[in-house]
Amino acid sequence: MNSRIANVAFNTFREAVRDRVLYNLIAFALLLSAAAILVGQISIDIERLVVVNLGLTAVTLFGVVIAIFIGIGLVSKEIEKRTLYTVLSRPVRRWEFVVGKFLGLTGTLLVNTFFMAIGVFLALLYVSRHFERGDFSITAALYFIILQFLIVCSLALLFSSFSSPLLSAVFTFALFVIGSLAEDLRGFAAAAKGITAMLAGTVAYLVPNFSAMNVVNQVAHGEPVSGQLILCNTVYALLYSAMAISGAVLIFQRRNLK
């Protein structure tokens, strides 16, 4: 069983890596890091700030786009184009397929983030000529970004298991945007009354809590990230992904493929 999941995961990774779209996106993101340097030159004294802010935001946004494109492309496309027929007629369990895809996808994003992060650190080095103590927390911010990717991938898979590629992409992206404002949404729900409060509350708790994983600003100002927060976010990301993936498995178990 384990080797099948690993096979699916590795194949997903291989397919993603060879897909040229990935390279274009990474190149673009690296370009943006370079641009951050330029922008920093315009605003004196805050080059560091700009590089970190812009760089990390680029890593996040591009990563989400890549996760959506590739995640949905790989899964929905497989379902639509019948590549899946030859896989499912083999002794691979459907749940093994879903989990394998998820692992392959997150693996791809991990590697991808690694390269983009190098770009950001290089840009930072160029601009400040040395690393400050506060820069270490940038790693924490990157770790949180990876946690966000974990959740986005799981959502992409969840939607792909029952929806068309376009709709899956739209839903996943929408959840990313809303999730980035999750804390505000919960604040709003707490202050509201009646049905609005109930609806807002339900949505606010179901939506992925990306806003707590966004410490870009903090980190740009060299402030540390608390260990407690790291722990809680990790637990949350793992639980949320588990939730989405088990949903995907359940849906996929009974799905009739056209």
């Binding site: 699916v8 291989r14 019948r82 027929y85 030859t86 007629s89 002794p91 369990r93």
Partner: protein, 313 residues
């Protein structure tokens, strides 16, 4: 124990946004296919062939009834290791090479790692793709993709092989190679179940065929049995300069070549035709039964009763 068995296997799709319009893809189907048979599944497009194949390979779940392969239900994971499937117009992972694709599938099918590489090479040469082993699939032609599809279907030495339109996209040489491959599979003791709408292939290869139309089974049996049900024809040749009108009345198609007339007419009118010749004092040169083809069976079966059988071409 039959290799493939369906018991009232049926599938209805709920179509439409509110799922109000059910579409029956397959009416309850009862089939038994023995081990070592080459079984053809015939029918026009949309008849339910692909649906049946998907039901038999576990890609789609039946609305009612069961399917069993080698005695076990299709759901059983052990069963999947024993089957191979070539879908219609397959599409594969673009960025893998043929070798990588087969190795991936081999791993998924549980081919032991030490045998994998040699088995893959063997398959590639069997389907004639050894040269293209390291080419990425996105560069493959339709025919080449079809061959890869065949390779992945038999790679893990399954006992039952399902092929959906295996000849599509192939040139005549390719088609012959596939036919030979299917016959080899039978010699290896495998059961082959394939769907096609090319009747000549079915006639040449199959031990038995089934004809399906609009989700309903219209006939099952050996090709010879089925064609025997169709009213046959005979060909009579004789010397004459003109075609006797009386023969035409018997429903004969006539050809005149010099002073040799060839008349093809329904079998049951054979005696009457000979009478005509005797009356006209025409000399009979030959009398040959024309083997009725599967096509006629097909065509006849697929028109509902309004078309009259027998007299009339």
């Amino acid at each position: 124990m039959p290799a493939i068995e369906t018991i009232n296997l049926a599938k209805t799709y709920a179509v439409g946004f509110w799922r109000k319009k059910p579409r029956t893809a397959l009416l309850p189907l009862n089939l038994q296919i023995e081990e070592g048979e080459i079984f053809g599944f015939l029918g026009p497009n949309g008849a339910g062939k692909t649906t049946t194949l998907k039901l038999l390979t576990g890609i789609v779940f039946p609305s009612s009834g069961t399917a069993r392969i080698l005695g076990n239900e299709v759901d059983d994971p052990g069963v999947k290791a024993q089957i191979g499937f070539l879908p219609e117009q397959p599409y594969f992972y673009d960025y893998l090479t043929a070798k990588e694709l087969l190795e991936y599938y081999g791993q998924l099918s549980g081919v032991p790692a030490k045998d994998l590489s040699s088995r893959v090479n063997e398959m590639l040469s069997r389907v004639g793709l050894s040269d293209a082993a390291r080419t990425q699939l996105r560069k493959f032609s339709k025919g080449m993709l079809q061959r890869v599809g065949l390779a992945q279907a038999i790679l893990h030495d399954p006992k039952v092989v399902f092929l959906d339109e295996p000849m599509s996209g192939l040139d005549p040489i390719g088609r012959r190679e596939v036919r030979e491959l299917i016959q080899q599979l039978k010699q290896e003791g495998k059961t082959v179940f394939f769907s096609t709408h090319i009747l000549s292939d079915a006639e040449a290869l199959c031990d038995r065929v089934a004809v399906i139309h609009k989700g309903e089974l219209r006939g099952v049996g050996a090709v010879a049995e089925l064609t025997a049900q169709v009213h046959g024809k005979v060909e009579i040749t004789f010397n004459a300069s003109a075609a006797p009108a009386a023969l035409r009345q018997l429903g004969a198609d006539m050809h005149i070549n010099g002073n040799i007339v060839s008349a093809v007419l329904p079998e049951e009118n054979q005696e009457a035709a000979l009478e005509v010749l005797k009356r006209e004092r025409l000399r009979l040169t030959s009398l040959t039964p024309v083997r009725s083809s599967l096509e006629e069976y097909y065509v006849q079966n697929l028109q509902p009763a309004e078309k009259s059988m027998g007299v009339g071409a």
